[in-house]
Subunit: 211 residues, 2 copies
């Protein structure tokens, strides 16, 4: 099996590395970071660059497609090369997946019409533009389409999909080896749990960004 | 403030990217990936390469040092350039931190003698060689030394340290924006929770690797 993780300028680092570290431990699978052009691709902070080892054109038939999100997703909504690649690879993929606002790219490619899907909590409503039905769940399966909520949810998505493909035992082994026994120091990881003023502050900013 | 995240051949990706995505959101801070030489550094799977933007020599006085682990840590235990850099930067750092077996590198540099510390669950006992007192906790503070358990625990460490430095509100904002509301599909992320045969299998393998 081949797992292709897409990179683009100003992606969010953990969106891509969460699935890499979990799903990427699939036995006998090749994980490859891909982008429009090969070479280092900078994340949203500018401080992290991950190398795209292959171009999109060099990876025409991955078994699993993983699309991260990040502030750079907005510009990619107009990138015909990427959207065409998403549509083409989807015709043969076993699983087409996203983390965070990566689901908006799947939506823009026309792949989520009529499907249940999720995204970063700030972007959930935008899914409706593409005919998708947003849910508040952290990991959403609809047939072969798997979408995850914001940033860190790609770890949960990666483990869940790993279990579906390779069996529970293998996914549990990866959870044990990555010591994924989360103990967040706060309980503010979702809008219904976080301090209300923070939720309001980010909603106000995102109305501008996602308009 | 300057945060330096160390890279070396065969590091574990999430060890480095967890703190990057959380602690790296510290306001007015610069996060820089560093390695012995600049350029792409390959992770343990060979499929992920993160660019070291600066050499160790170019970053002599970071405020925060973050040392990831991974299978490549064993070879680094003999790397005098890295161990010297860890000792030197520690004389001026505000925080010296590690994720996973990165704590063994701090130990090998002589920085954990007499201190409470943690590491990947498979490597906890090795800490004793360096005079450290291993604990089973996920994130351990001992003065300015902060060590985290395996791989994914760097996210918890990053958020915890972010709260100490920038205040709870800022850390909660980062938790909300990274939607860190973990929902693992299994409860196998620690040796006392995982299926016993998996724990035994990995302990048997690690006795060889860590001997």
């Amino acid at each position: 099996m081949q797992i292709a993780i897409v990179l683009f300028d100003r992606f969010t680092g953990l969106d891509a590395v969460g699935p890499y570290e979990t799903l990427g431990r699939l036995p006998d699978a090749e994980t490859v970071f891909v982008a429009e052009r090969t070479g280092p691709v900078r994340s949203d902070t500018g401080n992290l660059a991950i190398t795209a080892d292959k171009s999109l054109a060099e990876v025409p038939r991955p078994d699993v497609v993983v699309v991260p999100g990040g502030p750079g997703q907005t510009a990619q909504m107009e990138n015909a090369t990427l959207l065409d690649w998403l549509r083409t690879t989807d015709t043969t993929s076993a699983w087409t997946t996203s983390v965070c606002t990566g689901s908006l790219l799947l939506g823009a490619a026309g792949l989520l019409d009529g499907r249940r899907a999720t995204s970063h909590w700030l972007a959930l409503d935008v899914l409706k533009r593409f005919g998708a039905e947003p849910t508040g769940e952290r990991v959403v399966f609809d047939g072969k389409y798997v979408t995850a909520a914001g940033v860190s949810s790609g770890i949960d998505m990666g483990l869940t999909l790993l279990g579906r493909i390779a069996g529970d035992g293998h996914a549990q082994a990866v959870q044990l080896l990555t010591e994924y026994d989360p103990q967040p120091p706060y309980d503010a990881g979702a809008p219904h749990k976080a301090p209300a003023h923070l939720v309001e502050e980010f909603r106000a900013k995102s109305r501008f960004l996602l308009a």
